[in-house]
Symmetry: D2
Subunit: 173 residues, 4 copies
């Protein structure tokens, strides 16, 4: 497995698509966005689920955490059954978020990748994308990396997605 | 778990969203579309992966089948870890496709639902959606139900998605 | 030109795509959604622009009206230059909204079509689509038709999009 | 009016969204993508309309050109009626494509902007986006600028969309 962690608009999705293109084996992309989209619409704007404030802050509730735990178990089971999975995540809880994955992935080979991007640059890209709540990029830029341990860090501030993907692919065997 | 099986443009996605809205507990929606989107772009048009012919025929290859097996294991693991999952599927192999799920879901409570829609009506809706290869709806309308056993069948030909969802929800406890 | 007017989730877009498929000449689809998407993101949630309240009510402001007037002039000019245009609209102001178009279209041949759908059924379809603010369908179902004059009305409550499109196409020469 | 011309994946859309955010007045974004989406599905893969070859080449036919002429007339009419419009274009015909706009825009104040991006970098971004036919970026990178005259050129190879937008905005009064 490859787990990428980075703030909103740090370029994770683009790096994941490039990784899928440059890696010789078929790798599946399953990230936190896939999980959130699988939830009932009502949970995507409730205090028990996940809430996106107009200022870019994101809050998740108890039910979200329960469902997320089952999701993580499922992804781990896919990997144990032979799937190669790239997970792109936003560790709002920093080291604590990583712990949730570490427990479930015991025994699996995982490459941990931090995707850094300067807050101001990520905020500009958020504006350019036009489909995200403005403010998330800046808020999350540092927050998501607190206490998280990586095998590799890439910085998309001045590096293209494809270059970042190549750096990561070089570490996959 | 709830597994819905039906041809393209038979109305499965709409029924799933209505089910999520009418069921009191939070149910996650994870179907074959989520799986296909997780694959590398190159696999979405290769003979080893999945191919959508201009006439609406769909072919899947050996690598697709391997990854699908791991996907099914993972979904089963999510359910065992406490998630309530609605899977919407297109059983191109009929009874054989159902077998793949049955083996992995041993011990889990599953409601099997067939979503029927007359080919001509589904073909009209396919045209109205505008985002699917024209021909899939007609080709798959009967094909996907061959030999498949259901706890319940709903017919979206003349019934709204919300009505179908209510019929299904009445069978969930 | 063909102008379709109907509430949110009354099935206009599906009818438009079917119309494009069944009409022998190439007709372009340019509706109020295209106009709204062309606006700056900031105008899509401001009192001067357009606001979508959580209960499904939609308010438009003064700047929106000014830009809309120029948009209507432009669409009329396309038609005068030889384009065949299908406009799908939501006349929140009823007869008054129609007036805005009538003035600009002087001299052009226009087929006015009302797309009706019972509020409860449209609300169910809104839920099934999952991408619209719940409440708009019910609120707009009657409202948008107040005082509007049509050459033809179609009812999508129990008629498929393709059938509605065929009824409309039969009136186009 | 502001007209941006650049190859596929050169970053035009992102620059347009940033322009809308930094310019004090409301500017509408209406580009060639909006035009292509307005066409019947059948025209989006026909020799009379527009064809996207698997290698990234794009061919447009006679009917496409006729409808495009009417579209250009309509955009010009919107601008004459007071709209501020940003058009993002892909001049497959270079100077000849620009001529089509110049004729229609007589008397209007237009800022012509070339958006440059090195072919290799644009190709990488095309891969990262994952929603475009691979090959278009490289094929169009130089082609679209042949003989086209600009008031201003921005290079997105090493400059962020927001920076490019600010350079353009500084020329708008």
């Amino acid at each position: 497995m490859i787990i990428l962690n980075g703030g909103s608009s740090s370029g994770k999705s683009g790096i994941v698509r490039c990784l899928q293109a440059v890696l010789p084996d078929p790798w599946q992309a399953l990230g936190v966005d896939t999980f959130v989209e699988s939830l009932p619409a009502a949970m995507r704007s409730s205090s028990a689920g996940i809430e996106f404030a107009p200022d870019g802050e994101v809050q998740v509730g108890a039910v979200f955490r329960e469902l997320e735990a089952a999701w993580i178990e499922g992804i781990a089971a896919m990997a144990r059954a032979g799937a190669r999975v790239i997970v792109d995540e936003v560790f709002l809880g920093g080291a604590q978020s990583q712990q949730r994955w570490l427990r479930a992935l015991a025994g699996l080979e995982v490459l941990w990748v931090g995707v850094r991007c300067q807050g101001a640059v990520a905020a500009g890209r958020e504006l350019a994308r036009g489909d995200r709540t403005v403010g998330m990029a800046q808020t999350q830029a540092e927050l998501v990396h607190r206490g998280v341990r990586y095998d590799l860090e890439v910085d998309s501030t001045r590096r293209e997605s494809l270059e970042c993907a190549r750096l990561i692919a070089a570490r996959v065997h």
